[in-house]
């Protein structure tokens, strides 16, 4: 219990936010920040599902402020690739980029820049 609490206070708060029509082509942009792990995965998935409530062909995740992501978080991003044609990851940090590379997932996303 104590461990959980301490970790919770040290971690930057995970936050998910949707900007409608903020993408280059009027795409929906889901901005993820903080640490996306098993604790935040359900919330992130719900937000993505809501953003994809109407049929779309593209979705952008803005990862500028995403510090860390575990496999539960990756699952959210990967699940999105099955619902739209193109999932763009904007500004993934080197940490996230490397994580996706090792997981063999770089090719299923469009990474910008």
């Amino acid at each position: 219990m104590a461990d959980l609490d301490e970790n919770a206070s040290l971690e930057p708060q995970f936050c998910v936010h949707v900007d409608d029509a903020a993408g280059a082509n009027g795409d929906v942009v889901v901005r993820l920040s903080g640490d996306l792990d098993i604790a935040g995965a359900d919330e992130a998935r719900a937000v993505v599902d809501q953003a994809l409530g109407q049929p779309r062909s593209r979705l952008t995740f803005d990862l500028t402020d995403l510090r860390f992501m575990d496999s539960s978080g990756i699952a959210v991003l990967v699940a999105a690739t099955q619902k739209v044609d193109t999932v763009t990851l904007r500004n993934p940090s080197p940490v996230i980029r490397r994580l996706l590379t090792i997981a063999g997932l770089v090719d299923i996303f469009v990474l910008t820049p």
Binding site: V95, I102, D107
Partner: protein
Amino acid sequence: MATRELRRVRFAASRGANDPATPAQPPSATRPALVPPDEFSARRRRRISWVSLLVLVVGLATTAALSWTTYHLNQNNEDRLLRLETKQAATVLSAVVPTIQTPLASAAGIAAAGPDGAARFRTYIASYVGVKLPFVSASLWRLGGGTAQLVLSVGSAPQLAADPAAASSFLSSAKPAAPFSVVGPLGTVARSRLGYAVAVTAGANRYAVYAESPLPAERRAAVTPGSAFSDLRFALYLGRSARTEMLLEANSGQLPISGRTAVESVSFGTSALLLVAAPVRPIGGWVAADLWWILAAGGGVLSLVAAATAEGLVRRRLAAERLTGDVRHLLGEQRTIAETLQHALLPKKLPAVPGVQSAVRYLPGTNGVEIGGDWYDLMPLDDHRFFFVVGDVSGRGVPAGSVMAALRFAIHAFVSEAHPPESVLESLRGMLDVGDDHHFATVVCGIADVERREITVANAGHPPPLCVAVGSAEFVDTPVGVPIGVPGQVPYRSGTLTVPAGATLLVYTDGLIERRGENLDEGLARLRGVAMSASALPLDSMLDTVVAELAQDGLDDDTAILGVRWLT
């Protein structure tokens, strides 16, 4: 067919655990199991906490002090105001003195001046005698030889004359100038009078001028509202002490005046008037008078409310502490269950393979109260080959665990059908769909040929195995495909490499190298460094060292590490 069965089982488990409509177990339902019922009710009947008592005592003490102070301030204030009012009333009384003194003195002067003094006296004094005038009776007396003889009188007959001896005694003692002498009260209580006299000398003769004023009937004073006396119960006595027979008037039936009283004395001729007064109602007002008990009542109620609130808080805190204890206990229990389940899903013992030594470590993550999705397996294929696999299902809990079990058993099935590693991964593709299941799995598997020291490895998004020999450590760099559960068209491919003699192959899950905010490369480099420095140790010690070095602060995530060492 086996796969289908397993999938159905997995979905069932997955639904049950993910269903948000599944009602949470109410805490009360679990409580009796944790706390024996009688112990629990005994706790509920506990005495009031000392904190609440302290709050109550402090509250009541403060209230009492405040109340007492208010009461005494009001008492002092009332005393002061009463003295002021009484003094004011006495001032009004003393204003009466000249209205008696002046006509008497003037009349005496007139009576003594010349032979027709008596006649002029009569004329003069007549204007002071009558209804609503100072006197009801005025008279002139001749004094001599200790007796007094009435010369003339105006108005009603002097009451004093009823007792000639008393009259002689009183009038003979009258002083020739101010102050006047006072006698009384004369007559009955119902109709009594007060008499005043001054003496005067005219040639050889001595005279006394005497006048009487009526006292109120029954000596009950009629007080006009708004006057100096209207707020007071009072009694007025002649003389310097409150003797009943010397009562001149009072507005109260209850004598002597009791309770809070103030006394003022005003000189009145040769005697004095004594005014004893008490307030009719609180002079400072009802609010000031009642404030002390309003404070006492209000403070008492507030103290009780505060104590009750404190008691409520204390009890709630105790309940929360109990609940925390219960939750801690439940979490521990859940962790134990998770670990038990995990162990049930993982191989109890790695099978022996000739020519190699194998060992495994499994570490539940520090956050783990749920079952993890990491697994490992080792399967001998023939006398010199074995299949190894390490995988990691994303997420935690029973759903992740059931996916893990399904994958593990499926792999067993495919391996028994002699699939090569890349084909095994290919066969797993359809088993999991991240879109529906919310899980995916990274898997690295391979076939090792003990005799040829050759490994063929296929990788589905998993961190690369590390091949450690004495003084060197290299990651197994084979093609990496997408994790299981991620749709993709690119087929899985395997890579084959030869390991050095006596090499140790370390296959692990990402928990070992993953740190928040850190690039995985740093974790990989750390693992490589630690493994290399421990390369000369026996396999078990090597794994222990790796785990100890990389899990110094505890591992966030579950971690599995499989080590296989070639004996030649």
